[in-house]
Amino acid sequence: MPSTGSRSRTVRLMVVPLLVVLGMVPTGLSGQATGRIRGRVTDADDRSALPAAQVSVVNTSIGALTGATGQYVITGAPAGTVTVRVRRIGYTSITQEVVVPAGGEVVADIALTRATTQLSEVITTATGDVEKKSFGNVVATINADSLVGRAPITTVNELLQARTAGVQVIQGTGQTGASSSIRIRGASSLSLTNEPLIIVDGIRFDNAPSSSNFTSIRVNRFSTFNPDEIESLDIIKGPSAAALYGTAAANGVIVIRTKKGKIGAPRWNAFAEGGVVSQPADFTANYQGWGTNLNAAGQRVGGPVQCKVFAAARKACELDSLTSYNPWTAAETNPFQSQPRYTGGLQVSGGSDQLRYFLSGEHQSEVGPYTMPDFEIARITKQRGSRPLDREINPNELAMNAMRGNFSVSIKPNLTLDVNSGYIRRNLYTAFEGTFFAGMTFQYLTGPGFKNATNGLQREFVGDVFGVEGQLRDDRFTTSSSLNWQPFNWLTARAVAGLDQNNSFGYRQQLKGQGPRVGISWGPISNEGGKDYDRSNNTRYTFDLGATATHDLTSQINLRTSVGAQRFFDAEYRSQGRGYGLPPGASTPNSARQRESWEFTTEEATYGAFIEEAVAWRDRLFVSGAVRTDQTSAFGRNAKRTIYPRAAVSYVISDEGWFPSLPGVDRLRLRSAYGKAGVQPSTIAALQFLGAAAFPTGAAADEPGLRLASIGNQNLKPEVTTEYEGGLDLGLLNGRLNIEATMFRKLSRDALFNRPLPPSYGTAIGSGSPTQWENLAAVENKGTELTIDAILVRRRMLSLSVHANGSLLKNKLVDAGNVPLPTAPGARNEVGYPLFGLWDRKIAGFSDKNGDGLIGDDEIDVPRPLTYRGSSLPQREAGISATVGLFNNALQVSALMDYRGDFYKRWQYEEWRCQSSGNCVAVNDPNAPLADQAAATAANSSSKRTVWGYYVPNDFLKFREMSVNYTLPAHLTSRWLRSRTASINIAARNLGYPWSKYPGIDPESNNAVANNGGGNSELTAQPPLRYIISRVNIQF
């Protein structure tokens, strides 16, 4: 058996080829007297052992990882005084001098404190864990572990909202279970996803919209993640930081670490939450103007008729009265009712040297604030002879069960296997909504302005609308196995394999005799009964191999070399069917009058590799360079490997001796980074394929035919975003004030655009011009970000801390490859303007020329050219949170305000009512403000038609969160509850708008929320829900 020394030499010979480009041959210590350092690393707060902390001897390549009990042993340390450095995620790194006796041993027990100053935090990157100060980018970290128990967090996206500069969370519709969208540093793609890449415990986590979704609302798969299971999130904002994540990371990366076990006796954490969810919005009434028709001589003719302001303005009728009716609030039709929300969970963590564990289970249930009015229950009961089903009475409901088991097994002192697994079952029901005319919001907003046969709704009873059931059930299993090996002090390696699998079943159905009665509302005719369903299996596989070697080139220069290779395989298999005309009692399409089915398969494969070299000089200047290459199945056959380089510099300049001693300044870091990352096209965008259809050929029946459906693009490659980032981190006043300021510019080249081809190419089906996905466009985002953390008061009985973040963002389409862009009004793309900006003919002016108090078609000035109104995405955003601690922080009060500004929304709710359904106040009330009349008249004009008047400023300041948390005195909890700690929390979410420019119901109602595309419009979207939640946390 070879000795340790000879084995080390042998392995070095093996590894050298791998690291040869960097001259990574470790420094030997032969001939020098050595000793041993051993000790234990613990948490300074609770003295719990900290496994996996990196302990190293500065200026040497020797070190060790702490074991499960926090113990470490470093052999071969040079005798004499040496400096030991200890680093671990979430803790401030620390150095400590020890004297190593030659041939002897020194004990160095070290306690780490949780990171308070941001530079000393450790973050997770593609190459592993690194100190934030060595990383040339700004990386935001959210400590979910401490936040979720205190703040009103119901989804993982809410963890991100208003807490990080440059990160925008765009609200989904206000139904329980709806998803929001995430944009980091703006939108870069015209056609592909603008959502960030999600990494959970080292593997990719799917955040695509649920493909089996028939719930009428948008549901992203990220929303299945249980925030109670998260320890922390790192937000890697742009390509300059995310380059090594490659083709998928152009929109940034969110790296999630779930909670892990710690050595020691089992530590239990039980929590229970109860609350109320409500729809806080005040919906406006519908209106109807009444009058008499006028003949050409201006004389009244006939009886009472409905008369609009613009018709009265052109003397077609004379208004004499106005009716209004609000079905949203009328007893017979009010669909809202505050509903309950419950969560209960139990977590336990602990373990031994050999095995650490974290186990959790949680149940969550929430009933959306929609319910069938009693009047409707009685009406349907009478009509059917039986009470409506519970699902009809409460159509919006979410139930979620989550389990997680994270295990860490020490196979050898230098070999650890981490297995992290989570399972979630989500069952979501929603009210019939979306763009269906028979859907809830449409029926209310298009009501006639008086109480008609359907009690003020357009044509359906709300009880019948609730007869359409939408369900989405997800079973999601996510698991990763990570083998971490440290064969030598200077070398660590990992092998990660994992999968993220989601099985979904979704359907929309109405049983025979239920549902809307008029025409074809979504599929079945009238209330004949019908069902659409979709079963899908989505799996994402991750395979990741990596190694990192460290080497002290000199006493002042340290090298860190990382290599890695990954393969990702994404697959989706779906079967879909529908059946209309159900017999009584049937709830499947099996016996339907009309049945159809489909099958879909989507697979994507990606592989890539990277290498990074990082150089540290005197632990204050860090320079790194890296390159990644990727290839995916979605690229065209002729596309070459894509190369993603990265370079970064981080300089803690305040550590220099020559740095002037400035009053109040503790620390100053300058940083700058450059990098590229990509987004890959859709699976079939590059593919040439045929379409099938039947054709008459003269035979007795149509014959099956094949014709070219898509020409594909053999040269298709990913969109590649290049980013430059620079900034500084400033620590002031003994760590009480920390400032991060960052400027960035990112340019997405080769942005995919569905270029219209000439029809003569014959590469399309039907009337449309053929198109071809090409890498044509360029999109620029540039901005400034600022984050301030301040501890304003730090006393035992009173503390006050403030976290503020904000950003300015400018987005524009730089180039469209000389391709004619669509020129229709609405949200569209124009070179020189923001993506998905709002355009239409401008209302240049209006005046009541004839003094009749009405604005007619001839009294508005609408020049013909389309004019840019504004960005549909916020160009300014900020969040500010403040926490007051009383009585040694036993009582904490926190508030979070959220600001978005410099953007516009298409106020489509009002536009529809003023233009299509004619029941808004501006087209019915002659006393409506002239500006409102002008907007409505222009929207209804045949020659001057424009919805310019409904492009409205969307700026707002929102009272996003408020919480009060009380930690019970230890003597009480130990005596009464026999627990270590216990806290009671009361929190509220979406409390209101202290200020807003938006004239509509809610500035955050947005039906244009999507992973790709864009726009900002409100039509069938409900405003975000309000939550008031109380929670009890008990630790045993």
Binding site: E604, L687, L690, Y761
Partner: protein, 448 residues
Amino acid sequence: MTHSTHFMTYAALAMLGLAACSTSELLNVQTPDQITPDKASSAVGAAALRASAIGNFAAFYGGDYGGSFHGLSITSGMLTDEIESARGGTEHLDSRAQNEAVQPLNTTWAFVGQSTTQTIRAIKALKEFAAEGTATEKATKATQVGHLYALQGFAYTLLAENYCSGIPVANADDLNPKTAVLTTAQMYGRATAYFDTAAATLGTTASDVPFRSVVAVGRARVLVDLARYDEAAAAVAGVPTSFVFNISYSTTSVVNAIYDWMNGTLNYAPADKEGGNGMDFISARDPRVTVIRNAAGAPTPRAGQDGAIHFTQTVFPTGSTPMALATGVEARLIEAEAALQKNDVTTYLAKLNEARTALAGLAPLTDPGSQTARENLLFRERAFWFWGTAHRLGDLRRLVRNYKRGAETVYPSGPYYKGGSYGTDLVLIPAQAEKNNPDFKGCANTAA
């Protein structure tokens, strides 16, 4: 070496191997939903491509998918005196002032590209994959390929007759699509070449006989357009008067567009003496152009030229009524025209009347007495025989080009019945989307 060192070695090798692996293995994915061209590389694939080529030609000639698209029979007829725009939105074409950005020009032009390229793809596939193991299979293959060549000949003939000079036609190379911009003369040249190839490809079985007549009529049609009347007459001499070659339609796929747009949705109507010069397609009560007046009801009928509810046609009484592409009647009318060119009035009349025997109820014609009147009679006969089959625009152009008539004496002219006046367009033009073609800068010549 220990297990650990083995592991590290393998890991390093694995990483290097991954980076160097062949993409075909690491990037192998299944796409069963997409029928890639290689999956159609078989005899059954070729048959499916052939069905699509025939169907696409049907769409181009006179078809519609689901009430939204227009074949040439509608678009061409609208520019002439055959068809009127009943519903708003297509008056630009009806009044000879085309808007290239909107219906129906854009859909018809889309069908042009789809038909001409799909036929090439189908011919290529049939040649490569159609079975020819037996004599019967060989004969069938020859018939099918010859059929498609004949259709392609007609496609170019129709393009030459209806569109301006200088239009782009694609090469159907789907990896590197390109277009050639062809003059009218070049389009006639290509049409002739395709007819020649068809004739050379077709066999001698009974199945080939009708296609040989199709080729004969097609060749003659080109020759007439080129004012080579004697050659044209000679070409169709063997085509029996009763011969009819139909393009098929279906109520469930490619629908007869005349029926769909006139009877199904009441958007268009047969015209009567449109723009003064137009034929009396309605008032003549000719059995070849049968019409009825629409009844009130759904869909809502529109007011016609006379202010009352529009007429509609019954020539194509259902969505699956076929549309004749080549007929023995056309052969006789070509012979009549050739005779007229030689002042052989007897043959001229005989041929016209021989054609009229093809439909019961048509009385024999008599000599109108003058050359101009004879020409008018000939073109009137053609107008009624070929109503709704994309012949009329070619005939109007021939009247201008070959018979030296003034355009304003044969095209609808003067006040437009919905307001304004007729424009001056004489030919169809490609859709605006064709401007995405770097090879196409617009029509080279829009004269008749």
